[in-house]
């Protein structure tokens, strides 16, 4: 049976297409993209009038907590939240318990994901046990299905280990996803170091804790010709350093998260642990820097760093609560509200960050809309408002600073490998 998506505004950042076109899906593939496609009685017809028809979205940085913390989230549960949020592909971070540093665990994730609605691409650890000492068996991990390497949550402190990881991963073309943080400089801080941290008496994390590691890893990428991608960039200075690295033709890419272009550390006093994440929310100047980095292409990707934590863990004194917020469900609404509506991003520009750009970095054959390609499609109504509340949030954990906000952009359909995996109820 064919699915025909009629009357939508097709946005395909990879080809620069922004046009009113129909899309035909069949057998898990895109059969045709054209004007006024003839339909037959057997076709399932989706009227996408007023909506954007996008390549299935990709979130290249999520935590699904399985194995180890299935009480908080699972691969299946997280995949369902992703589908509801318009994402047809995610890259899962390996800082689970145990960490993903061997092929059996990579296969476990892929097997669990097969029960779910979307494509899950696991990242595996850079180092054995995530301990930052010996590099993991990258060749075997890649054969098992890993698409990238990261010790996310913990930086690779040793420069020589990072050098070896960049050198060794080169032969597989897989990126090293760097969680850039100088832990000694971060000094167990809880929020951005600045006026607010001083006022609130909370230990600060200077932006330089992020920036020195970004500078180091760019230099190591230059040395090794390895492929480094920076996770969750949060400061204007980081954007500047990466911009320079790109100008110097070093193989560097990066992502930011929606909260870094939507919020600042002014929110911490009111939201406390709900505004606690690592790296922390920075200042308005940084927020502007992140937006400009997205605009000029220095920042390639928007990824959520979706990090579920149980209510009990978050409902604590800010100092004891864990870092991290959920992000999948608010990602598209924040991209539309903050970038397209408030900062005049074109849809092509904004959605490249969650389609072809992450696909390119992770070497995925996804994130594009083309005849013969995978039938991964996300249909978004950019004019329809959503309200972030208990009812809207499907995620088991509700740790988000956006509760109560009304945002533009509702997911109408998510189609993955030709199957409708989410339809707005």
């Amino acid at each position: 049976m064919r699915i025909v998506i009629k009357n939508g505004r097709v946005i395909d950042p990879a080809s620069g297409t922004d046009d009113r076109l129909d899309v035909v899906l069949s057998g898990g593939r895109v059969e045709a993209i054209d004007r006024n496609i003839k339909t037959s009685a057997e076709d399932e017809i989706i009227d996408a009038e007023g909506s954007l028809v996008l390549p299935g979205l990709i979130d290249m940085h999520v935590h699904f907590r399985e194995p180890g913390r299935e009480d908080v989230e699972t691969i299946l549960g997280g995949s369902m939240v992703a589908a509801k949020s318009g994402f047809t592909s995610v890259c899962t971070m390996p800082n689970t318990t145990p960490v993903i540093d061997n092929q059996a665990l990579v296969r476990f994730i892929i097997m669990e994901a097969a029960k779910g609605p979307i494509n899950v691409f696991p990242a595996a650890n850079i180092t054995k046990g995530g301990k930052g000492a010996e590099i993991s068996e990258m060749g075997e991990l890649i054969k098992g299905g890993a698409v990238a390497f990261t010790d996310d949550g913990m930086p690779v402190t040793s420069s020589i280990t990072m050098r070896r990881a960049l050198e060794y991963s080169r032969m597989f073309g897989a990126p090293i996803l760097s969680h850039a943080e100088d832990k000694s400089l971060a000094d167990e801080g809880l929020m951005n170091e600045g006026l607010n941290s001083i006022r609130l008496g909370l230990k600060g994390i200077p932006r330089e804790a992020e920036e020195v590691m970004i500078a180091r890893d760019i230099l190591l990428a230059r040395l090794t010709k390895g492929k480094v991608h920076f996770c969750h960039v949060s400061s204007e200075g980081s954007v500047e350093i990466i911009r320079r690295g790109k100008n110097d033709k070093i193989n560097v890419t990066c992502e930011t998260a929606p909260h870094y272009f939507s919020l600042t550390d002014d929110e911490v006093e009111e939201l406390m642990s709900m505004a606690k994440m690592n790296p922390p929310l920075r200042t308005e100047n940084d927020r502007r820097g992140i937006i400009e980095g997205l605009r000029d292409g220095t920042i390639d990707v928007i990824a959520t760093d979706h990090a579920p934590h149980s209510p009990n863990e978050k409902m604590q004194e800010m100092e004891y609560a864990p870092f991290g917020i959920i992000g999948l469900e608010t990602s598209v609404p924040l991209i539309i509200t903050e970038l397209v509506r408030k900062n005049n991003f074109s849809y092509l520009q904004a959605f490249a960050k969650v389609t072809c750009n992450p696909a390119g970095i992770l070497n995925l054959d996804r994130g594009v809309l083309k005849s013969g390609g995978h039938a991964d499609i996300t249909i978004v109504n950019p004019e329809r408002k959503i309200k972030v509340d208990e009812q809207f949030l499907m995620s088991k954990c509700k740790n988000t600073p956006f509760t109560g906000r009304e945002l533009f952009g509702s997911i109408e359909y998510t189609i993955c490998n030709g199957k409708i995996v989410y339809r707005r109820g």
Binding site: I198, R199, L200, G201, E317, E319, Y320
Partner: protein, 317 residues
């Protein structure tokens, strides 16, 4: 509601200058009460005050407890250590248990900044902040303010120096807010590692040079230096700290003759303040402790809905 129009006392930031003066005026009345022979008044009869201290403290907890007892409240003390929290019951659950036992007022000290603010959002009872992390210590600032008013009648036009580890001091943060609100000029002084530039946001002066500052001060408020800061490389040695920032007899000689010497306690004698100065007639350090009880009585009284005392002599300009 009550004359303070709030259920909690969390910080100085949220108090208006008028409210600070109201608390000080009320404290004056209670100081008269508790320096007489029969010290109790029935303001909080039948009410329960619970002191919940997640950080060791003697004087602040005793001061609150005494204040509550003199107002005829039932008092319970729940001593908790940080370690038992980490492995045990959450703060919210602990306090809900106390609420279930009908505690009317929770006085909390906590090592984590904003813990009382977090608590107040999640319980119905009244929360009084007895000091949270590096953030706030409102009753200390109120008693310091009261103590200065008692000596000088007003804070307007006074130059107050706060000296020591500003960065890690909740007393400094609350004091400077209260002093500024009542029109004093405030200068912060300490080593550069303990005096971040971000304090400029408060509209205070800052200096590293204690000797240059001293002759101009009307009030010298010395802070306790935590020895463990030295291990974090924030200053090279206690000896060097003492050399640069101790209020010695030699330094005291440069002060105005009517200078007021304060310290929130407990003091490190011989480290940030010399014996002779701590016990000098210009020092009001013991008076501060007495005033602490009066100020905390005033806070309980006003939060309990007590009306301001009309006292002709008690007008603060």
């Amino acid at each position: 509601m009550n004359a303070l129009n709030r259920k909690d006392l969390l910080d100085i930031k949220s108090l208006s200058p008028e409210e600070i003066l109201l608390i000080c005026d009320t404290a004056k009345y209670f100081k008269d009460v508790f320096t007489r022979d029969v010290k109790t008044v029935p303001v909080l009869r039948g009410k329960t005050v619970c002191t919940l201290f997640y950080e060791p403290s003697t004087r602040t907890r005793l001061s609150f407890e005494l204040a509550a007892k003199m107002l005829s409240a039932n008092t319970i003390n729940v001593p908790v250590t940080t370690s038992s929290v980490v492995k045990g019951e959450s703060l919210i659950d602990t306090v809900r248990t106390l609420e279930a036992m009908k505690a009317d007022y929770i006085v909390m000290r906590h090592a984590a900044s904003l813990a009382p603010h977090f608590l107040s959002k999640n319980i119905d009872g009244s929360v009084i902040n007895g000091g949270d992390g590096f953030h706030a210590h409102p009753t200390q600032a109120l008693l310091d303010t009261y103590s200065i008013i008692e000596k000088r009648g007003t804070l307007k036009g006074l130059h107050i120096g706060i000296i020591g580890d500003i960065k890690h001091s909740r007393v400094a943060r609350s004091d400077l807010l209260a002093f500024k609100k009542l029109g004093a000029k405030v200068t912060l002084c300490g080593p550069s590692t303990l005096l971040p530039d971000e304090f400029e946001q408060y509209g205070v002066d800052m200096t590293y040079d204690f000797d240059e500052l001293l002759p101009d001060l009307d009030v010298v408020n010395m802070l306790r230096i935590q020895r463990e800061r030295q291990q974090g490389s924030l200053f090279p040695s206690i000896r060097e700290y003492n050399l640069l920032y101790c209020l010695t007899e030699e330094r005291f000689a440069k002060c105005k003759s009517d200078v007021i010497i304060m310290h929130p306690g407990p003091m490190n004698r011989g480290i940030e303040i010399d014996d002779a100065i701590a016990d000098h007639p210009n020092s009001i350090i013991n008076e501060q402790v007495t005033n602490g009880v009066a100020v905390r009585m005033a806070v309980f009284y006003l939060l309990a809905g007590g009306t301001p005392f009309k006292d002709e002599e008690n007008q603060e300009a």
